[in-house]
Symmetry: C2
Subunit: 190 residues, 2 copies
């Protein structure tokens, strides 16, 4: 819970009384690897803060294959923004890529808080905008690279993710099969 407060305060100071109000609406829960926080097609009614672990944003292809769109790590917020704000069905699932601990904040509670805490709306907007910018930069960084360089870049940027989540998740994030990723790893070790 303290980590979440620090995260919020990196955007805007949160006095004790506001924090009391806010924290009363939070629920902390452990999630097992593979557990689904939001299922594709459902409407996102909660915003998450990741205390520990890694989540992944997943899209299922028509062929029934799961593609990892993004990884989300501890000390970041995770929310399927368009579903959450416009209340439309989510095009993605939000799953735990490894065992994790998350804080959930329900949208209805957040809306009530907006009435009481005037700066909260723009604080949340800043969080989501930063999240979107990070996603775009992440994706852009891989454009124009071949599979080997994409993996090398991922290794540099997210060495801990490589160690903590299944390789198949990483392969789908990099846009290759897990066999190709395995082969790339073998060649790099040479």
């Amino acid at each position: 819970m303290e980590a979440f407060r620090h995260f919020l305060e990196s955007f805007h100071p949160v006095p004790a009384e506001d924090w009391q109000l806010l924290s009363a609406g939070l629920s902390v829960s452990p999630v097992k690897e593979g557990a689904v926080l939001l299922r594709e097609g459902k409407i996102a009614r909660e915003l998450y803060f990741i205390c520990d672990g890694i989540l992944r944003l997943v899209k299922r292809t028509p062929e029934g294959e799961d593609i990892t769109m993004f990884f989300l790590k501890e000390n970041k917020c995770a929310v399927v923004l368009d579903s959450f704000s416009q209340e439309i069905p989510s095009q993605y699932s939000l799953e735990a890529a490894c065992d994790a601990m998350v804080i959930a904040l329900r949208k209805d509670y957040l809306l009530r808080l907006y009435e009481e805490i005037p700066y909260l709306r723009s604080l949340v907007d800043s969080i989501t905008q930063q999240g979107l910018l990070e996603k775009i930069h992440t994706r852009n960084a891989y454009m124009g690279l071949d599979a080997t360089r994409r993996y090398q870049h991922f290794l540099e940027q997210e060495p801990d993710i490589v160690a903590r989540v299944p390789l198949s998740d990483i392969a789908s994030f990099l846009g290759i099969t897990q066999q190709s990723l395995s082969r790339i790893r073998k060649n790099l070790h040479t």
Copy 2:
């Protein structure tokens, strides 16, 4: 100019007096294909509204190759958000993918307008947030597809762009060489 006003009003009504204030700071200019509105490494000091034509957000690789990150069409705003808001060097260039007509709004003028028009800040935030969401959706839609399907999807989504910008720009957007794109087109016509 009217198109820009309509665009703004799709987010929030803009009374005549506010529009007068705002439009006094706008400059409309034609841009030739290939012209650079913002060069990689510079700080974005203007926000653009595209009246006509197509811009592209470009990143130069270490090998000196230009990669198209996104296309931006008429009736959309174009701004390199992190450079514009944080005043840091842009990682991308903004160029005209074909002859175009754009409206420029300088940041210093916008900041002054924020003082006079209270809802303008959140209006601009909404515009940029929508822009980011569109970029992410665009990119996500191509994940997990092979080159042929990526091109087919692009054809469906943006038939006019295919007709109006050089194929090499589209190939770099799709993550393939222009030779591969040409071959894919040939196979599809069969």
